[in-house]
C-alpha cells in the first residue's frame, strides 16, 4: 500500500477496533450475559415449579388416601368421648351387676389420671412428611438481594436451593421437630369394683361390664379369690358357698381431649330446712344398725 494512505488505514482500523471493543464490552456482552443469567434463573424457577407441582401431587395423594380411609368418628365418640358422664358409668356397672346375678361389695371411683401418649419421633410421623412438602418456597425473580434459604422445620435446607427475600414467604405449615407424644390430652377415670357370686355369674358380669357395644372399660387389674363356704362374713351380701368368687376389678374409662368446663346456670332459690334432719339415719340403715 502506498505509504501515504497507511496512516489513514491504520487509524481507521484502530477506530473500528475501538468501536467494536467498546460496543462488545460495554453494551453487547453485558446484554447477552444478563440474558443468559435471566435464562438460567428461568430454568431455576421452572425447576422449582416442577418441584412444587410434585409436592402438590403428593399432597393430593395424601388427601385421597385420607378421604378413602374409614372414618373413626363413631368409634371415637363411643370409646374416647370428651364428655365425662359418671352417672352413666355407675348405671352401667349396676346394670352389669343386676343382670349377671353377682352382688356388689364395693364401688370406688378414683382420681382421674393423665395418660402419657406414646413417644414417636417426629420423623416417623406422617404429618411431618406432609409438612416437609410445604417447605419449598418461591425463587425470587426481582433484583432484590436474595438471602440464604431458611432451614426447614426438620433442619433440612429447603428443596431446590430456594432463595427468597427475607420475610417474603412463610410456609403455611410448620411441623414440630421435637420427639413427643402424638396424643397430648388423654385421660383415664379409674373405677375399682368388687363383686361376689358364683363363677358363672362372675363370668357374665365381666362380659357385660366390658360389652363391646358400650364405651370401652379397660381393665388394668383383675383379681379373683375363692369364697367358699365358711369364708368371712361380708356386709350386705349373701353368705358364701363353695365355688363362689370375690372378684375385684380395676379398670378405666378414657377421654380424648376431655371437656372440663363447669356449667351451672341455674339460680339458687331461697329454701327452708326440712322438718326431718337430713342427717337422721334412714330406716334401712337404722335397722341394719340394730
Amino acid at each position: 500500500m502506498n505509504s501515504k494512505y497507511a496512516p489513514v488505514v491504520a487509524l481507521t482500523a484502530v477506530v473500528i477496533l475501538i468501536v467494536v471493543a467498546l460496543g462488545w464490552f460495554l453494551a453487547i456482552k453485558p446484554g447477552f450475559s444478563e440474558a443468559s443469567n435471566i435464562k438460567a434463573k428461568t430454568d431455576e424457577v421452572n425447576a422449582n415449579v416442577s418441584q412444587i407441582q410434585l409436592e402438590t401431587s403428593k399432597l393430593a395423594k395424601y388427601e385421597q388416601e385420607l378421604a378413602a380411609a374409614p372414618a373413626l368418628d363413631d368409634t371415637l365418640a363411643l370409646n374416647l368421648p370428651s364428655i365425662v358422664d359418671v352417672g352413666q358409668y355407675i348405671d352401667r356397672i349396676n346394670a352389669a351387676v343386676a343382670s349377671s346375678g353377682v352382688e356388689l361389695v364395693s364401688l370406688d371411683m378414683n382420681a382421674s389420671y393423665l395418660v402419657t401418649g406414646w413417644e414417636v419421633p417426629a420423623t416417623a410421623r406422617t404429618s411431618t412428611s406432609i409438612a416437609k412438602l410445604f417447605t419449598t418456597g418461591p425463587i425470587a425473580v426481582s433484583s432484590e438481594a436474595a438471602v440464604e434459604p431458611a432451614p426447614s422445620p426438620t433442619g433440612e435446607v429447603t428443596t431446590g436451593g430456594t432463595q427468597v427475600p427475607a420475610g417474603a414467604y412463610t410456609p403455611p405449615v410448620v411441623a414440630s421437630v421435637e420427639a413427643g407424644p402424638v396424643v397430648q390430652d388423654l385421660q383415664g377415670l379409674p373405677f375399682e369394683i368388687q363383686v361376689t357370686g358364683s363363677y358363672s355369674e362372675t363370668v357374665k358380669f365381666l362380659a357385660r361390664l366390658t360389652a363391646p357395644d358400650a364405651q370401652i372399660f379397660l381393665l388394668s387389674d383383675l383379681t379373683q379369690i375363692a369364697r367358699n363356704e365358711g369364708s368371712a362374713f361380708m356386709a350386705g351380701v349373701s353368705n358364701a358357698s363353695d365355688g363362689d368368687v370375690i372378684t375385684t376389678v380395676t379398670g378405666s374409662f378414657f377421654f380424648l381431649n376431655p371437656d372440663s368446663a363447669v356449667v351451672d346456670d341455674d339460680v339458687l332459690a331461697p329454701v327452708k330446712p326440712a322438718q326431718t334432719s337430713p342427717f337422721a339415719p334412714s330406716k334401712a340403715v337404722a335397722a341394719a344398725g340394730n
Binding site: 371415637l76 395418660v115 365381666l206
Partner: protein
C-alpha cells in the same frame, strides 16, 4: 481499427491525462478517507445491531422469566391451598394413636379367664386365687414377673390347691397349654390346711401373651402407619375362644369330692 492495439488490449484511441498529479493524489486521498469513514460507520452499525440483538435476547429471557414466575406463584398458591391436609393428618394421628394406645390392652376376660379355669381345674385341683395384670395405656402389665422367664404384654399369678404335688405339676402343665399364657412356673409349694382339709398348695406365675388382645377398636386401615404390634411382641396366632361353663370350680377339689 489498429490491430496492434487490439493485440495488446490497449485503448482504442490514444489519450493523455491532463489532470495534475497533486490533484489526482488529493482525489485518491479523499476516496481513501471516505472508504475509511464508511468502514467505521459499518462497524458502528454492526455494533448497534449486535447491541439490539442483545437487548432482544434479554427482553425475551425476561419475558420467559416473568412467565415462569407467574407459574411459580400459581403452583405455590395451589400447593399451599392444601395446608388443611396437614391439619387433617395431625388430627387423624391423634385419633389413631389414642385408639391404639387404649385399645391394644383390651382382653375378653370372660373368655380368657374361663379358658384358663376350664382347662386347668378338675376334681383334683382348683384355684384359690387368680390375679391378672394386663397391659394398659400406661404400660405393660408385666411388673410381677421374673425377667428370667421372659416378659410379654402382661402377667398373672395364681394360687391353687391340689391333692398332691404330682397333681399340682399337672395343673401347671395344663395352664401352660392355654393359648394366651406362657412361661408358667411355680414359685412356692407347700401343704396347707383349708377348711380342715389338707392340700398341696401351689403359687405360680406366668405371662399374658398378645394373642388374647382383641385389638377391637384399633383402626385396621391406618393412614398414619402406626403398627401396634411393634409395641407388643407378637407371639402365637391362636386365640382363646373357650365358652364359659356354668361352674368351672374355683371350689376346693376335696370339698367337691367329699
Amino acid at each position: 481499427m489498429n490491430p496492434v492495439a487490439l493485440k495488446y488490449e490497449a485503448a482504442l484511441f490514444p489519450s493523455v491525462n491532463l489532470v495534475p498529479k497533486d490533484i489526482q493524489e488529493r482525489r485518491k486521498m479523499r476516496a481513501v478517507r471516505f472508504a475509511a469513514g464508511v468502514a467505521v460507520l459499518i462497524a458502528i452499525g454492526l455494533v448497534v445491531i449486535a447491541f439490539l440483538g442483545a437487548l432482544g435476547a434479554k427482553a425475551a429471557a425476561q419475558s420467559g422469566l416473568n412467565d415462569a414466575s407467574a407459574q411459580q406463584d400459581e403452583a405455590l398458591q395451589k400447593r399451599d391451598s392444601k395446608a388443611p391436609v396437614y391439619d387433617s393428618y395431625v388430627a387423624r394421628e391423634q385419633e389413631e394413636y389414642a385408639l391404639a394406645q387404649v385399645g391394644y390392652g383390651e382382653i375378653d376376660y370372660s373368655q380368657f379367664a374361663t379358658s384358663i379355669t376350664n382347662t386347668a381345674t378338675n376334681d383334683k385341683s382348683s384355684f384359690v386365687e387368680l390375679h391378672m395384670l394386663p397391659p394398659s395405656p400406661t404400660g405393660l402389665g408385666a411388673n410381677s414377673t421374673d425377667p428370667l422367664f421372659g416378659t410379654s404384654v402382661g402377667s398373672f399369678t395364681f394360687v391353687a390347691n391340689s391333692l398332691d404335688a404330682a397333681e399340682a405339676r399337672k395343673l401347671v402343665a395344663r395352664i401352660d397349654a392355654v393359648p394366651g399364657v406362657a412361661s408358667i412356673h411355680a414359685t412356692a409349694q407347700k401343704y396347707t390346711n383349708d377348711s380342715n382339709q389338707i392340700f398341696w398348695q401351689i403359687k405360680g406365675s406366668g405371662v399374658i401373651t398378645p394373642v388374647v388382645l382383641t385389638m377391637r377398636i384399633i383402626p385396621e386401615d391406618s393412614v398414619t402407619g402406626i403398627d401396634v404390634l411393634t409395641m407388643v411382641d407378637s407371639q402365637d396366632t391362636d386365640t382363646p375362644g373357650v365358652a364359659p361353663t356354668p361352674a368351672p370350680s374355683p371350689a376346693p377339689s376335696a370339698s367337691s369330692e367329699g
